[in-house]
């Protein structure tokens, strides 16, 4: 042993190795053979999600007393990476269910709220969603229009949320929405988080969006009109919703980074197989230096992205500051995924443009990674702020 600390999260502990091996087997044996069909049909893969529930994946980072597995966000990132290597729709279903749906309840919920909601969510029997984005804008969360007004023992929610993952499945149990609950002296809104159970009168789930990618995941617009929930459905402190979800978003960014690394790696995996088999001009594609260089670049991007994501994930678990690192991880990983998907599709030629090939799906799934949970522009803004650069109008 030298005095050099272990490489940034790339040497996994045995339990993490075992977890990765388990998820890899599931992805290869059960997801890969059928996911193309779900993707093509735009159908939510209930049986696969149920198996993931039985595997304990939805409870991974939560304590056992709430039905969780006692793992952490690092373990979750490993799982997301491994799933996204094969399919992103399932990975985002898990990420949104755990990172956005259940995590705020665990982080900010009262003991009673945790006991009430977490066990079902941890088991994967039900799913939760988090509604922040509105039709009028997502990047500027301070511009939230949805309101929640206190009326006796109830909150009355009015407004619309856009693009909310996991919000309309048969097993969706609740959506946590951000809403303006008051105004400060300077006119800025007080934003709070309110839990709205599925099926609450006044809460309407719009039709499934027709999406470019992630087509086997569930995304809806949500409308709230005089929607009443009990007062104890306020999650965390009144007026602190904004600060709370900012910290949730740091976690979410690392998770989307992990998903991006998985997709970038999936592109490398697929291309290595393809250039070894496909022939053109009397030789294997692998014989072409141009294509070798493309694959080498893909590998390099994946490696760098993985380092950034594992570092941010390790910080998250250690409770160290990570605003800068999370933004960098999400930025470089999502851009690596996008670049790899573009190159992989090119290497596959016409087959790369077919929905039936994994790289065809990777191409369609990559773009959202640069948009969801903070666009690349937002990540750059965050990094600039962390560098002490002034806010720009």
């Amino acid at each position: 042993m030298t005095g050099v600390p272990s490489p940034a999260g790339l040497d996994l502990r045995p339990e993490h190795e075992a977890l990765v091996a388990t998820v890899r087997r599931f992805a290869r044996d059960e997801v890969a053979p059928v996911i193309g069909g779900y993707y093509e049909r735009g159908e939510f893969p209930y049986p696969l999600v149920a198996t993931m529930g039985e595997m304990g994946l939805f409870g991974l980072p939560f304590p056992e007393e709430y039905g969780g597995m006692g793992g952490d966000a690092f373990a979750l990132c490993l799982v997301l990476e491994e799933l996204a290597r094969v399919d992103s729709s399932l990975a985002i279903t898990l990420e949104a269910g755990v990172g956005l749906g259940a995590m705020p309840i665990h982080r900010f919920g009262t003991e009673d709220q945790r006991q009430r909601w977490l066990p079902d969510l941890c088991s994967g029997r039900s799913l939760a969603a988090f509604g922040l984005t509105e039709p009028g804008g997502g990047s500027d969360a301070g511009a939230t229009r949805t309101t929640a007004r206190r009326d006796g023992d109830e909150w009355v929610v009015d407004g619309t949320k856009a693009f909310i993952t996991n919000s309309g499945t048969r097993i969706t149990r609740l959506v946590t929405v951000t809403a303006v609950t008051g105004r400060r002296a300077d006119g800025r809104p007080d934003i709070s988080a309110i839990v709205v159970p599925s099926g609450t009168p006044g809460f309407t789930v719009g039709p499934e969006y027709s999406k470019v990618g992630w087509t086997a995941s569930d995304t809806h617009e949500l409308a709230f009109a005089g929607c009443r929930v009990p007062a104890d459905h306020l999650l965390g402190e009144e007026g602190r919703g904004y600060a709370q979800f900012l910290s949730i978003l740091d976690t979410g960014r690392v998770a989307i980074g992990a998903l991006s690394v998985g997709l970038a790696q999936g592109c490398v995996d697929e291309c290595l197989g393809y250039v070894g088999e496909r022939e053109a001009f009397g030789r294997k594609l692998a014989q072409s230096q141009v294509l070798q260089f493309k694959v080498a670049d893909m590998e390099a991007r994946t490696h760098v992205a993985r380092l950034a994501v594992r570092d941010a994930a390790a910080r998250l678990v250690a409770g160290r500051p990570l605003r800068r690192e999370a933004a960098i991880a999400k930025l470089v990983a999502s851009e690596a995924a996008m670049a790899n998907a573009r190159e992989a599709t090119q290497i596959f030629g016409g087959y790369g443009f077919m929905n039936e090939t994994p790289v065809g799906r990777f191409y369609r799934d990559a773009k959202i990674l640069e948009i969801g949970e903070g666009t690349s522009e937002v990540q750059r803004m965050l990094i600039a702020r962390e560098l002490g650069l002034p806010a720009t109008p």
Binding site: P14, E15, A18, L19, A21, T22, R25, F26, R28, T51, E54, M55, G56, L60, E64, M69, G70, G71, A75
Partner: protein, 259 residues
């Protein structure tokens, strides 16, 4: 009820395998994993144990280099403890030698029921479990496609070419299960963490009182004299159905004399 499951740890079939050029044996120096065939045995054992109060599942393996990753997988699925036999002198052990070692290890666990797979994925001689049964002086029921037990006897649906036999046998006994007898669970992270602290009893040949000359290359009665690559399959014939597809299939089957 003490249920013992034989689990073989093998080189990952998904990774390219290599044979030793002189002994023709499989290179087992890398990381080994739980043989998929045995994950059915582990699951079967866990389900049977869950139905008989006071039951415990022990997994037993013989493997080089004190390998435990496959055992940890079985422990993560829910087995209570493991016995591993690992000894430098075991290199080159043939199927009978393997059975001797396993039988000695299994005896220590005082089994009521021993479960193994019908055949392993890498060696697939399919001879180890019945040899273990013989050495332990136990009855064996092979090719089980369904198993039930009350702790004193075992009922097995034994797969045959025509269908299945109903077999009932008193315990202790050895049962070999077919792939698909049950759906193996994936280990959860909680299970993986719990497995870290479950006991793995690692034994040498001396611990088992086995003379090294009975096993390994010296004790092996089988020798692999030659290995040759399987002939690559030639391209098939594609027949386009022009309304006579069924007749052409029958004609083909007649031609190769299967009907």
């Amino acid at each position: 009820m003490n249920v013992v499951v034989c689990v073989k740890q093998i080189p990952d079939p998904a990774a390219p395998a290599s044979l030793d050029p002189t002994t023709h044996t499989l290179d087992r120096s890398g990381k080994l994993i739980l043989d998929d065939s045995d994950s059915y045995g582990v699951e079967m054992a866990l389900q049977l144990a869950a139905n008989v109060e006071g039951s415990e599942v022990t997994v037993v393996s013989m493997a080089p280099n004190s390998e435990t990753s496959g055992l940890r997988t079985a422990l993560a699925m829910g087995a209570a403890k493991a016995i591993l036999v690992s000894d430098g002198a075991l290199a080159g052990t043939d199927a009978l030698g393997t059975a001797k070692v396993l039988a000695a290890a299994i005896r220590r666990a005082e089994p009521d029921l021993v479960i193994a797979a019908t055949e392993s994925t890498d060696g697939y001689t399919g001879t180890v479990p019945v040899q273990v049964a013989e050495l332990l002086g136990l009855p064996s029921v092979t090719f089980a496609k369904a198993v039930a037990t009350d702790g004193s006897s075992v009922k097995v649906e034994r797969q045959t070419e025509a269908g299945y036999d109903d077999v009932e046998c008193s315990l202790p006994a050895v049962v070999t299960v077919t792939a698909g007898v049950v759906e193996p669970r994936y280990p959860s992270f909680k299970g993986i963490m719990a497995a870290k602290s479950k006991p793995v009893d690692t034994l040498s040949l001396a611990d088992l009182g086995i003379d090294p000359s009975e096993v390994g290359f010296t004790g092996a009665r089988q020798e692999i004299t030659d290995v040759s690559a399987a002939e690559s399959r030639s391209a098939g014939e594609i027949v386009v159905d022009e309304g006579d597809g069924a007749q052409r299939i029958v004609a083909f089957l007649e031609q190769i004399k299967v009907v």
